[in-house]
């Protein structure tokens, strides 16, 4: 399903079309579940959050703006934001786990990604590589695994304040790099 297909289906969802909703769910739920499960690390909680995310997608489909985001980015962001809300609310959780480290050690991208996204990822990857030392890994762990500043501080052995300022500087550097 192309981004244009998804965008058309979102328009139909905005009009209350359940068949369109089912089609969008079928095409995107495995991706979105992967996103929330990785952050939440608990299937039951991830299922709840995924449900909430799709209810939001149903409710807010009319607000989708194709000029601002691709449909899958819009949907994944809704799901991810809910997952991050939840994981921040549920703190503290285990501050470190080997599984997450393993995932980061092997950041092989999924072969199924779309060409359009590949180009964006290439650019983001290049800009991440330009960050100093461990900072690209911090950004990935925060974004993909939902690690908090405190968890990053434990993992990388630096004070929270240092992590905070590093993240902030890294993000500004990323922005400047990507917006070139």
């Amino acid at each position: 399903m192309t981004p244009a297909d998804l965008a058309r289906l979102l328009d139909r969802i905005a009009e209350g079309d359940r068949a369109a909703f089912q089609a969008v769910y079928d095409a995107t739920s495995a991706k979105l579940f992967g996103v929330v499960l990785r952050i939440l690390r608990d299937r039951d909680v991830a299922e709840d959050i995924l449900q909430e995310a799709y209810v939001r997608i149903w409710d807010n489909a009319a607000r989708f703006d194709a000029t601002k985001a691709s449909p899958i980015t819009w949907m994944a962001t809704i799901a991810r934001n809910r997952a991050i809300d939840e994981v921040r609310r549920r703190r503290p959780r285990l501050s470190d786990d080997a599984e997450a480290l393993e995932r980061i050690a092997d950041p092989a991208p999924s072969p199924a990604r779309q060409a359009e996204a590949r180009e964006d990822l290439g650019r983001l990857d290049d800009c991440l590589k330009a960050l100093e030392g461990e900072r690209a890994q911090m950004v990935r762990l925060a974004y993909l695994d939902g690690l908090s500043r405190e968890e990053l501080a434990v993992r990388f052995g630096h004070p929270v304040g240092t992590i905070k300022s590093w993240l902030r500087r890294s993000l500004m550097q990323l922005r400047d790099c990507m917006d070139l």
């Binding site: 992967g34 449900q51 950004v139 993909l144 939902g146």
Partner: protein, 270 residues
């Protein structure tokens, strides 16, 4: 992006999108973006910049029945294109429309609303007369009909009970955050059945609209009703019906139902 405060907004947006704000900062940023378009736009920009990282996430198949659970939560909340009411659907004890001729078209929502509004008027009188504090709630639960007890700060409580029986559920609502919490008190569904929460509010269209299934009878269910405005919530009527697994198959209540209402009150009482 030159003024210092612009830089601060962009940094806040970046950390919001990255996800590293703590719970309080995150809630504050989420509230601010609702009223600060500049911050909202900055967050959207950052979400777009970072989203390509999601390509690194492995897909994971959700459980087979998850879509049905989602559908149960949106059931009835759709536009007129939504599932039509089956004419043969048995009337529910609470949301019965009598002989309202519009029932065939709309599920008799108007009749239900009128009927339930009358009950609300009665409850309002009682609630005002009672004017009990939440601390006394347990003490008054044995009385019927449902008491509705106001708490400070836009918090409301409604009690769900059968006409002559002990309360089954107590629901609290925080209008500001649109969060509802339903606590089972003495609810025991038949095996394999589930409880489903409904709302009747004119703003949401005719008839009861599903707010989804309750998590169970052994723990509270919390929901954020992002699609219902505080004003609609305040005046809404609520129902909890017993439904088959997965929720109502018709998008409207099909099983025995309990009802409750939140009574809007001014700060100084009425």
């Amino acid at each position: 992006m030159t003024a210092p405060e612009d830089r601060d907004i962009d940094a806040l947006a970046a950390e919001y999108a990255l996800g590293t704000l703590d719970a309080d900062e995150r809630a504050e940023a989420a509230a601010r973006r609702q009223r600060e378009p500049y911050l909202d736009a900055a967050i959207v920009d950052w979400e777009r910049r970072l989203a390509p990282l999601l390509d690194n996430v492995d897909a994971a198949a959700p459980p087979e029945d998850l879509f049905q659970r989602i559908e149960a939560r949106i059931a009835g909340a759709a536009s007129p294109a939504a599932t039509p009411i089956a004419p043969s659907m048995p009337p529910t004890p609470i949301l019965t429309a009598g002989d309202d001729p519009r029932r065939a078209r709309s599920g008799g929502a108007q009749g239900e609303v009128v009927r339930l509004r009358r009950r609300v008027a009665a409850w309002r009188t009682l609630a005002v007369a009672a004017s009990v504090a939440l601390a006394a709630l347990v003490g008054v639960l044995v009385y019927r009909p449902a008491f509705v007890v106001r708490q400070p700060d836009q918090r409301y409580v409604a009690v769900f009970q059968d006409d002559d029986k002990a309360p089954r559920f107590v629901m609290s609502v925080d209008l500001a955050s649109r969060q509802v919490t339903i606590r089972p008190i003495d609810a025991a569904p038949a095996p394999a059945n589930v409880y489903q929460l409904w709302i009747v509010a004119e703003e949401l269209g005719e008839g009861p609209q599903s707010l989804g299934l309750l998590d169970g009878v052994d723990r509270p269910t919390r929901k954020t009703l992002a699609h219902v405005t505080p004003a609609a919530l305040e005046g809404a009527l609520f129902g909890i019906s017993l439904e088959p697994p997965g929720g109502s198959p018709t998008g409207k209540p099909t099983g025995p139902a309990l009802h409750g209402a939140l009574i809007p009150m001014s700060t100084g009482g009425e």
